[in-house]
Subunit: 225 residues, 2 copies
DNA sequence: GAGTGGTCTAGACCACCAC
DNA sequence: TGGTGGTCTAGACCACTCC
């Protein structure tokens, strides 16, 4: 016997995938849906939570539940030499940037190999596709370093994990707190050994992947095409 | 103002990470915890759901909530030339392997660039630390190919995603169905262009990360900006 | 201000596990 | 059989968005 929320989720999922509910369309209010399915509002919300975790429904506080536009899949290309100036290099995206001056501390200081309380600049970028946020990037650069010259990058190291978003990330990306996110920490090092930049990317797991390509034997480096 | 469930989760998380609650220990019953924190049982259960998603707590129906044993962190090193013979190269781990003969189909055929119904060998490996499974690897090789020579690998491509485990993966790895997993698809290609091997790794997100290191060569062109 | 979702309460009943 | 978690009810009040 499937639980109520699953039968409700199945019904709504069918309506979405068959196109009876169209992308961008607002679902009836949760109270109305609860009445329609003869369940309490928490139960109906649990059903919607399933669809959110699948990325089918986008819930906006104060506005309603919307059928997601099928967003383009996000492909993060590992090892690319772009830096903060070009980072989300897709011109089709709208990007907001906040710049914050702050001091290194804790994990961040370790990552950048600087001492605690040394000055940093933080760039907090959110990329939007239409109205939907699709990625959050926090970039940290030591403020006492000259802008890096890309020809002189010695190493790019990317660390990838899967986790649940922090409450802040969940609200920023408008995703469910239980939707896994792909978290990429990208540290670039100059030949001098100094870390020129650390970037923390958070991508919704249901529509993002990261690709890393290695050519072990040959030294030829062809751009991917 | 943080919500109740977060403050409760924070408190329990502190008790777990500081060792006041020890690995394997059973937490008080949910009704008792709800009384202790002066919240309703649904609210307390929401708090526990957060800890479950973080992998700190293991919930067993009819028995209780248990503090997870902390296992060693899993580091997946990207771009390594090891193949199925050496894959989880840690000798401290116990590894079980099942070998299955099967036919390519669907996504798997695409991945291996072979036609549907062409013969494959599947190696299904589970690595254990003590009694706890820690990783699941499924390796597929075309059966009509000679064993690859590692000197002749032309390309290793790794695709990384974050998602919730399939029910089968959750039970195999003994993790919560809502705990994110790091999923790595690793495809190796010979100079001939043939795919020699595809490996699907599933790692519990809360104790695994993947590291990719790139050393840009000076022959690469600077990205347009 | 009207309507929406976010969170929470204080229970209820059922399903699973061990004794 | 007793204790545990799984699911659900029928509300309540707060926070956000838009007009």
């Amino acid at each position: 016997m499937p639980s109520h929320r699953h039968t409700i989720a199945d019904d709504l999922r069918t309506q979405i995938t068959t196109g009876r509910l169209k992308p961008g369309e607002r679902l009836p209010a949760e109270t109305q849906l609860a009445t329609h399915y003869s369940v309490s509002t928490p139960t109906l919300r649990n059903a919607l939570a399933l669809l959110q975790a699948e990325g089918l429904v986008n819930k906006i506080h104060g506005k309603g539940n919307f059928v997601r536009h099928s967003l383009r899949h996000i492909t993060y290309l590992g090892g690319s030499r772009t830096t903060l100036a070009q980072f989300p290099s897709d011109p089709a995206l709208r990007v907001s940037v906040h710049t914050i001056n702050r001091l290194a501390q804790g994990h961040l200081a370790t990552l950048l190999k600087v001492s605690a309380r040394s000055p940093l600049t933080e760039f907090r970028r959110i990329a939007y596709e239409g109205q939907s946020p699709r990625s959050l990037t926090r970039i940290y650069v030591p403020r006492d370093l000259p802008p890096p010259k890309y020809e002189e990058l010695a190493e790019i190291q990317e660390t990838v994990t899967a986790r649940v978003p922090t409450p802040e990330e969940a609200s920023t990306l408008r995703i469910s707190p239980v939707l896994p996110v792909l978290s990429i920490t990208r540290v670039t090092t100059a030949p001098t050994g100094r870390v020129t930049e650390a970037a923390l990317l958070t991508l919704p797991g249901n529509r993002a992947h990261a690709i890393f390509t290695t050519h072990p034997t040959t030294t030829e480096s062809r751009p991917a095409g």
